[in-house]
Amino acid sequence: MLIEVKDLVVDLPSSEGAVRIVDGATFGLAEGESLGVVGESGSGKTMTALALMGLAPAGARIGGSIRFEGRELVGLSEEAMRGLRGDRIAMIFQEPMTALNPLRRVGAQVAEPLVLHRGMSRKAALDEAVRLLEHVRLADPERAARAYPFGLSGGERQRAMIAMAIGCGPRLVIADEPTTALDVTVQARILALLEGLRAESGMALILVSHDLAVVAGHCDQVLVMYGGLIMESGPVDVVLGEPRNPYTRALLEARPTPGAPRGVRLKTIPGSPPHHREVGPGCPFAGRCEMTADVCRTTRPPPAAFGAGHVSRCWRAEDLEPRR
C-alpha cells in the first residue's frame, strides 16, 4: 500500500468547542490506483484531502494514522511535511486562479518545486517547466510559461496547475474538485489528461468530487462520505452497481437519468445535508433516510463488509433491496 489511513479524525475548534469534521476515516490506496472521494457540502471530503497533505487549518486536531510510503504523517513536523509536499505528494485545487500566484509568471511557478525539491538552477528549472507545460498538452508551452495566470483560460490554468503538481514525479496526487469550474468538454479533457499521466507514471490519484458520475468514469475505488463519515466504500463498479447504503442509493436515484421520460418524478431526499454540529450520536443520514429505525438515531453504525473490499455503514444494509 502506498498510503494507509486508519481511523482518521479531524476536529476543528469553534466557539462551541471542538467540532468533528472527519470521523474515523479508514482507507488505503496502492501505487497506480485511483480513488474517488464523493460527498456533498459538509461531508468532510475536502478536509480528509487536506489532512493527508498536512494542510488542515491551524488549530485542527488530527487523530488516527496516515502511513505514506511506510512513514507516519500524523504528528510529523511541518518542516518534514514540507519536504514531502510538492515532491512525493502533490495537490491540485479546484480554482487555479486562486491557487496560482496572480503576480508571477506561470513558468516560474511551475519551476518553483523543482528548485525547492530537486535543487535545480532557476534556468534549468524554467526549461523543465516549459517541457512540463508541453507534457500537459498546452498548445503553446513557451507562451504559457511567459504568461501570467489571468492570461490563460480556465482549462489552460488547470493544465498549468497539473504541470506544477507532477513536476517532481509525485507518487500521490490529490485533486480537489479539479474540474468543477470548467465546461464539460474541458472537464473531459482534463480528466483524460490526469488518467493518462497516472497510467504512464504509476502515480496514485485521489479525486475529490461532488459528482458521482465523474468518479464513476475515472476511478477504481470510491469512498462515499456524508456528515464526516465514510458511509460506503469499495470498487466503483460494485458500489455504484450494488450499493449497500441508502445514502449512496439515494444519490444515484436523485439525478435525472438520460433518456427517461420528461418530468418523471425524481427521488428526493428530504431536508439538506447536516452541519457538523448537528450530527448527533447516531447515523448522520438518520432522519433524511427513508429506512431510519430507532437504532439509527442513537448509535453510529459500524463498518460492515459485503464482499471483497466493499464496506458500508448502515444498520439496515441487509434490508436494502437490490437495485433494478
Binding site: E40, S41, R137, A139, G154, D183, V184, T185, V186, Q187, A188, R189, L191, A192, L193, E195, H210, D211, L212, A213, V214, A216, G217, V236, D237, L240, G241, A250, L251, L252, A254, R255, P256, T257, P258, G259, A260, R262, G263, R265, L266, K267, T268, I269, G271, S272, P273, R288
Partner: protein, 332 residues
C-alpha cells in the same frame, strides 16, 4: 414546432456586440460579438433549453429575452409585443409576465430583508396591489414551492440552500408569470437537494402553466425539463430541435462532443476520453467557427460558414455542412 401556435417568446435575428476597453488611449475599442443573429421561438407550455459552454452567448441571450439588455439589432417579442419598441411604462407592465431565477440562492437574496419583502418585490411592477392582497400572494407563492406561509417572517439565513432556491422560485412566481428564465437554477445545489428543485420545476410546468427558458450546462437537467433545446456555440445556435432527438442522435459535431463529454453513471456508457487534439487551424473569417475543433471538418468548412438548415424533419435544424448520422433515424 407546428405552425399556428402563437409563440410566447419570439427572438428574431438578434445581434449583440460588446465594446471592450481600449488597449491604449485613443485606440479603437475592440469588439466582441456575443450573439451573431440568433432566432428562436418558445411555444407556451413547452419549456425551452439552451446549452453551450461559457462564452457561447447563452446568458447574453437570456438577458436580452428579459429586456435587461438591448440587442444591437433584431427583434424580441413577448406574446406578440416587441419589447424594445414599447414605451417604458408598457414594458414595465409586460415585465410582470416574465421573471428570472438566478443561479446562486445565496447571493441573490438580500440577507437583511425578510422573506415576505423578498418574495413580494416583483409585485411593484404590477402596481396598485393592496397590503392584504400582497400578503395573500406571498403566502400562496410560498405554498406553491412547498414552504409555509409562516416562513414569510423569517430571514434568508434561516433556510438551507435548497429552501433558499425555493424562495427565489417563489419570488419569480408571485406575478404569475408566463415565462420564467432560469439561468443555471440548480447548479449551486447539492445533488440531494437538486432533485427537489427539479421536481418543483416540473410541477410548475404541469400545474401552474409556467414555461421555462432554461439555461444550463447540464444536459441531464435540460432533458428533464425542456421539450425543445438549442445548442449554442460562440454566439450562434448550431443545433436546435426536440431535446430527446438532439441528445440521442446529435447532428452537429459540437453537440456530439457535449454529449460525449457529459459524465455518466451507467458503467456501460462511461465517458469516452476525447481525442486531445490541438486546434488544426484558426477559425477563418467566413468559415464555420467550430471547424478548428471539429473532428470531421473538411476544407469547405474553413471557407464557408454553414447556416442553420432543416435536417431529418421532426423540426430539427443544424448549422453543419456535414451533419452526423443523417442516414440513421433518430432513435428513441
Amino acid at each position: 414546432m407546428s405552425a399556428g401556435e402563437r409563440p410566447l417568446l419570439e427572438i428574431v435575428d438578434v445581434r449583440k456586440v460588446y465594446r471592450l476597453p481600449r488597449p491604449r488611449p485613443f485606440a479603437p475599442h475592440p469588439v466582441r460579438v456575443a450573439l451573431h443573429g440568433v432566432s428562436l421561438s418558445v411555444i407556451p407550455g413547452r419549456s425551452f433549453g439552451i446549452v453551450g459552454e461559457s462564452g457561447s452567448g447563452k446568458t447574453t441571450l437570456a438577458r436580452i429575452a428579459l429586456a435587461l439588455d438591448r440587442p444591437d439589432s433584431g427583434v424580441v417579442r413577448l406574446e406578440g409585443a416587441s419589447l424594445f419598441d414599447l414605451p417604458r411604462r408598457e414594458l414595465r407592465a409586460l415585465r410582470a409576465h416574465m421573471q428570472l431565477i438566478f443561479q446562486d440562492p445565496y447571493g441573490s437574496l438580500d440577507p437583511r430583508m425578510r422573506v415576505e419583502r423578498i418574495v413580494a418585490e416583483p409585485l411593484a411592477a404590477l402596481g396598485g396591489v393592496s397590503r392584504a392582497e400582497r400578503r395573500d400572494r406571498v403566502a400562496q407563492s410560498l405554498q406553491a414551492v412547498g414552504l409555509r406561509a409562516a416562513d414569510a417572517a423569517k430571514y434568508p439565513h434561516e433556510f438551507s440552500g435548497g429552501q433558499r432556491q425555493r424562495i427565489a422560485i417563489a419570488r419569480a412566481l408571485i406575478t404569475r408569470p408566463k415565462l420564467v428564465v432560469a439561468d443555471e437554477p440548480v447548479s449551486a445545489l447539492d445533488v440531494s437537494v437538486q432533485a427537489q428543485a427539479l421536481n418543483l420545476m416540473s410541477d410548475l410546468v404541469r400545474e401552474a402553466g409556467v414555461t421555462f427558458l432554461l439555461i444550463s450546462h447540464d444536459l441531464g437537467v435540460v432533458a428533464h425539463i425542456c421539450e425543445t433545446t438549442a445548442v449554442m456555440y460562440r454566439g450562434r445556435i448550431v443545433e436546435i430541435g426536440p431535446t430527446d432527438a438532439v441528445f440521442a442522435a446529435p447532428a452537429h459535431p459540437y453537440t456530439r462532443e457535449l454529449v460525449d463529454a457529459t459524465p455518466r453513471l451507467d458503467l456501460a456508457a462511461r465517458t469516452a476520453a476525447p481525442a486531445d487534439r490541438a486546434p488544426a487551424a484558426h477559425a477563418r473569417a467566413g468559415g464555420c467557427p467550430y471547424a478548428p475543433r471539429c473532428a470531421t471538418a473538411e476544407p469547405r468548412c474553413l471557407a464557408e460558414a454553414p447556416t442553420l438548415t432543416d435536417i431529418a424533419g421532426e423540426g430539427r435544424r443544424a448549422a453543419c455542412h456535414f451533419p452526423l448520422g443523417l442516414d440513421r433515424k433518430a432513435r428513441r
